[in-house]
């Protein structure tokens, strides 16, 4: 049998205890992907039974923006081979109502809460991070950088300089652990990852969805023409990016992209992730992450 600890791969995720994220030790390795599980809606539908079998170790909120957004016109989703494309458009009630209405209830979940935020300008991001960072219900903040900076026109997460500026600005405003969710379309993913780490990120999460579309009868099925591809269809792409990024930085990596079963999660850990997130698989089965959570806990 080969010695796992000399091969590099498989060594990164030290299997006994995952590394802390900043000063924070998540209670387990399994997160949900932002935007793929609305805990409050799920509670309303499935009742308290969900709390007894909560599928994740850490709950990540849907991405919040400063102003409310209604989201994109329908159709917003279409299935494709082993996955789906979505152009949901980040519908959310905006920062003020999220803080007043949702966060207190999320704070009652049986697991720590990580709040995902997105700002289209430095000021917008600063407002979000400062306000969310003050709240005791919040264990960590995730910066979703897959959006253009309205000032420069550049997609923040595609550019190391933009990413560094956004992370540095957020870093100065909070002592909470800061996770940066990378954009899979950066031309040099390792450079963006290093820029985020150097600017003070405590962990990196990847991948977000890849640009994609589905046609039927000669036309795109989505109202917006195209969207983001997720699910098992992207797993090989995601694994490659996780492997690249984990090798480029010393901070922990939260790996995701098509994880639907224990074996998938193990592949991401072997590729260098310390934590994993389950996304689209939750849609098929609200408890899809539960066996993964159990298996990784027993590890």
């Amino acid at each position: 049998m080969a010695d796992e600890h000399t091969t590099g791969e498989g060594a990164a995720g030290d299997r006994d205890e995952p590394p802390a994220i900043g000063g924070w030790r998540p209670p387990g390795r399994v997160f949900n992907g932002s935007g793929t599980f609305d805990a409050l809606a799920a509670l309303a539908v499935f009742g308290d039974a969900l709390l007894e079998r909560f599928p994740f170790d850490v709950y990540v909120s849907k991405t919040i923006t400063r102003e409310p957004r209604v989201g994109n016109p329908p159709p917003r989703i279409a299935e494709t081979a082993a996955g789906m494309v979505n152009s949901i458009g980040l519908p959310n009630k905006g920062l003020a109502r999220f803080l007043a209405e949702d966060l207190p209830r999320l704070g009652e979940l049986p697991v720590p809460v990580c709040v995902s935020v997105m700002g289209h300008s430095g000021d917008e991001l600063a407002a979000l991070v400062a306000a969310v960072g003050e709240r005791e219900e919040v264990a960590a903040i995730e910066l979703n950088v897959s959006c253009p900076n309205v000032e420069s026109g550049l997609v923040i997460g595609q550019d190391p300089g933009e990413t560094a500026r956004a992370v540095a600005r957020a870093r100065a405003l909070t002592t909470k652990p800061l996770v940066v969710k990378l954009t899979p379309t950066a031309s040099d993913q390792a450079a963006v990852a290093r820029a985020a780490a150097d600017a003070g990120a405590d962990a990196l999460s990847l991948v977000n969805t890849f640009p994609g579309t589905v046609f039927a009868r000669g036309r795109p099925l989505l109202a917006r023409g195209h969207g983001g591809l997720s699910g098992p269809a992207i797993k090989p792409l995601a694994l490659a990016q996780v492997r690249t990024v984990a090798a480029a930085v010393r901070i922990p990596v939260i790996g995701m992209g098509g994880i639907a079963a224990v074996a998938d999660a193990e592949d991401f850990l072997a590729a260098g992730a310390s934590y994993v997130a389950v996304g689209t698989a939750n849609f098929r089965d609200p408890l899809a992450a539960l066996p993964i959570r159990k298996a990784l806990r027993a590890m």
Partner: protein, 248 residues
């Protein structure tokens, strides 16, 4: 699944092992336990289906794509995965006689409604042709009028024409409308009902990835903005529908 039977163009599946009783108009996310993902990797997500009867629990499936075809061809004894009952069904309007208006596969939730009403309702059902119209027998209403596109059963034409004539009678204030069918039909049913001031509930459809509020994929525009159809619907009040442009 304990039985599978052809009903004209459609397939009626009988399942057991689901204990929570559904209300008419609610739905389940269905998949087969094995070999889901057959045709070029689809279906991958489960598919929403209204139940056609609650006791026994049955589903009427129109085989239009990989998911519905897979379910329609599932063998008796094969394990199905069913998440539900989900969503909000029909809210009966007190003191008004139920007028069920269905188009095509839209008869499924109306059959469940007729079952819940012990048949004390009237139904107007429209179908493309005779093989589709055989599903009309599932709607156990005291009075049923049919229309078909090709004239092979009932009146040739649209079910909405039957509805317009029905409401033109003097007793329209005694009725509440419960409808399900293709979107253009529902839009027309809503217009007719509003014109006569008759209460009207429409069982809508939208693509659904999850069925329980997780994906925000099933947005439908109402007067107050987009709602998630799987949570706020699938049954919506015809007077609450709207038009929302979306974010820029």
């Amino acid at each position: 699944m304990v039985a599978s039977e052809a009903v004209g163009r459609y397939r009626l599946l009988t399942v057991d092992g689901v204990d929570q009783p559904p209300a008419p108009g609610q739905f389940y996310m269905l998949a087969t336990a094995e070999r889901w993902g057959g045709e070029e990797g689809r279906p991958w997500l489960a598919r929403p289906f209204s139940h056609a009867t609650a006791d026994p629990l049955t589903f009427l499936v129109d085989p239009v794509g990989p998911g519905s075809r897979r379910l329609a061809s599932a063998a008796v004894g094969e394990e199905l995965l069913a998440l539900g009952p989900l969503g909000r069904g029909f809210a009966l309007v007190e003191g008004r006689r139920a007028l069920l208006v269905g188009g095509g596969i839209g008869v499924a939730p109306l059959a469940a409604l007729a079952e819940a009403l012990d048949g004390s309702c009237e139904a107007l059902l429209g179908f493309r042709d005779e093989p589709c119209a055989r599903a009309a027998r599932l709607v156990t209403a005291t009075e049923v009028a049919l229309a078909s596109d090709d004239g092979s059963v009932g009146r040739r034409g649209f079910v909405t024409e039957l509805l317009a004539e029905r409401l033109a009678r003097s007793d329209h204030e005694d009725y509440a409308i419960y409808a399900c069918g293709p979107e253009p039909m529902l839009a027309e049913v809503g217009r007719i009902a509003r014109a006569w001031g008759v209460p009207c509930q429409l069982a809508y459809e939208a693509p659904m990835a999850c069925g329980y509020g997780a994906c925000f994929g099933c947005a439908v525009a109402t007067r107050t903005g987009f709602v998630r159809l799987c949570l706020e619907g699938p049954v919506l009040d015809a007077y609450e529908l709207g038009d929302t442009g979306g974010d820029g």
